[in-house]
Amino acid sequence: MLVLQGIVDGILAGGLYALMGSGLTLVFGVMEVINFAQGIIVVLGAYLTYVFSTHIGVDPLVTLLITIPIMFALGYGVYALLLRPIKRDRVIMSLLVMYAVAVVIEGCLDIIFGGTLVQVHAAYSTSSIHVAGLEFSDLYLLAFGLSAVLLAVLYVILYRTKFGRSLRATTQNPTAAKLVGIDVDRVSATTLGIGVGLGAAGGMLFGMTESFNASSSYDLISRLLVIVILGGFGSVWGAMVAAIIMLVVEDVVAVVWSPVWGQTVFYLVLAAVLMFRPQGLFGRLAVRAQ
């Protein structure tokens, strides 16, 4: 029963990590930018929710209507101002720039909010539903549900709109996309906006499920990167599957052994998978031109 409960918890929490990780992998797929700032962006989203819900008294869910546009603008602006000018060594230069952006945001958050751990509270934070002897926390159900909705919206954007087609074309071959008249820079900026917006939405849920401060971003980014590697870089579906596998492994290990070892065991799983599939579960191998 404990194991079953662990699996249920893992799947529910995995949905949330899938939401945060999908932004990272989507951005990478389109423009080969490793967004190291995704961790701190989740925390920034959580802080924005915290400010709006505790100081203005809006329900955390409603704050999404404010935070997602703000964060979208942030992502769009970062691409237009900082990433677009990079011409050489894009992969590593953009990583270093995003690293620096993360450091700046972390510094700002730390100065404004200090190191105290905070948490976003709502009426449904502590209640839960019991079905067949299993406990379903309302909060995690909400997180899973909202993640599913947002990921469904992402699916519609990717596969049912003109922008989505431009985005997928850019992912497959940026040069060819440019040749058929796609404004690759605009698509990239919008994608970074979407990625950052997804991170912020994940941040609102993260802020409700766990207490956080600015340095929580390191734990987050390490988990998100691991999820994205396991899923295969650039594969949104891979990230979702990997997120759920990771959290299930972690929660099951936590209940049958010890919470301390949950994450470690997952890392061992990652190492084992990479031995046989270096490109991750759903990734493509980078061939030629190292």
Partner: protein, 384 residues
């Protein structure tokens, strides 16, 4: 990575040779003098500036210098950008801390004798880590190195019986103290950095180094040409890890404390990578310049604003500005500027020579000179 301008004329062998030579290379004499002057300045520095606050900044700068040169030996030459060298840094720190604790070493000199062991431990760790991460390329490699670094940080937290967990470990201080406390650290780090630099120079000129550069340019083709790519990359990583491990060991003894989050820190590689990039990735002098210019700046900000995280903001903004303004690194950018000035100088010399040619009638010469003076104006404006 010589850039050859496409020219319609056939090049003479000397010209081809010149084109293929490193375009950034100064003459052997200029280089020799610069390195000697730099070495003399670095050797004399702590003897001239004896203020402990200054020398401790200098010590940290030397640690960075050592590690940046080592980092560049692998990442700069092979093109495999590692953001996980903190793994070897952390292992160097913990190796020294654990050895001092369990061997109950008290004398300062024998503490320093542990440094090669720290290097060997780090190099030994680099073998399995390298075998795992070197299976992938480009982005996946970069991200995997970060992930491995976080894994070891987590392990350091999770084995409190060995590492002391989040409480960290204390390292017994060396026996010497007082105003000259910093000097041994400074000179050991400088000496090791010089060894690393000499090795880096040797690698750059060796067949092994050519293999690394070939891997950077096109790994599949390098493989096709018979280079044992995995072995070449792994050896470079192990050498690099050895020196970074020594830097970690030095740091542990100097600071006297080891914590998981500072031993396996994501910041460390940000510094190493940015220092190398700013100086010029894959060059010999680039990492040296980057570490010597930005290292003290980093220390200064940390000392000045370290109480709050303001220094993070300043440093982050500084990095962004540098990366966007000098995307090619300082050394290549300056070299480019120098070469375009040199080219302009040659062009002017050529023009003068053709103008004062003996066969040209004087009337035509003045006419030519007049027309030529017109396009010369924008050149002057560019210079100003």
């Amino acid at each position: 990575m010589a850039v050859i301008q496409a020219t319609p004329e056939l090049l003479s062998p000397t010209e081809i040779d010149r084109a293929f030579r490193d375009p950034y290379a100064l003459s052997a004499r200029t280089r020799g003098i610069s390195w000697t002057v730099l070495l003399a300045v670095l050797v004399m520095f702590p003897l001239v500036f004896t203020n402990p606050a200054v020398t401790s900044v200098a010590v940290f700068t030397m640690f960075f210098l050592l590690a940046t040169v080592a980092w560049n030996m692998f990442s700069g030459y092979s093109g495999y950008i590692s953001i996980g060298h903190a793994v070897y840094y952390g292992f160097g720190q913990y190796a020294v801390a654990l050895l001092i604790l369990h061997l109950s070493i008290t004398s300062g000199v024998s503490e320093l004798a542990l440094l090669p062991i720290a290097g060997v431990v780090a190099a030994a760790v680099a073998v399995p880590v390298g075998l795992l991460v070197l299976r992938v390329r480009r982005h996946t490699f970069i991200v995997l190195t970060i992930a491995v670094m976080f894994i070891f940080q987590l392990l350091a937290f999770n084995f409190p019986s060995i590492t002391g967990g989040s409480a960290g470990m204390n390292v017994a201080p060396p026996t010497w103290s007082g105003n000259d406390f910093n000097l041994p650290f400074y000179y050991i780090a400088l000496g090791t950095a010089i060894i690393a630099l000499a090795l880096s120079w040797g690698i750059r000129r060796s067949k092994f180094g050519l293999g690394l550069l070939a891997i950077r340019d096109d790994e599949d083709r390098a493989k096709g040409l018979g280079i044992r790519v995995t072995r070449t990359k792994l050896i470079a990583l192990v050498i690099s890890a050895f020196f970074v491990g020594i830097a970690g060991g030095l740091y542990a003894i100097f600071v006297g404390q080891v914590f998981p989050q500072f031993a396996f820190t994501p910041f460390y590689d940000l510094y190493l990578a940015v220092f190398s990039f700013v100086g010029g990735l894959g060059t010999l002098s680039g990492p040296v310049l980057g570490a010597l210019v930005l290292g003290p700046l980093q220390q200064y900000f940390e000392l000045q604003f370290g109480a709050t995280t303001l220094y993070l903001i300043i440093y982050g903004v500084l990095f962004i500005v540098i990366l966007l303004l000098l995307p090619r690194g300082v050394v290549p950018s300056i070299a480019d500027r120098y070469h375009s000035l040199l080219a302009a100088h040659w062009r002017r010399a050529e023009e003068r020579r053709s103008r004062s040619g003996p066969a040209t009638p004087s009337a035509v010469t003045t006419g030519e000179a007049r027309t030529e003076s017109v396009p010369a104006v924008p050149t002057v404006r560019e210079g100003a």
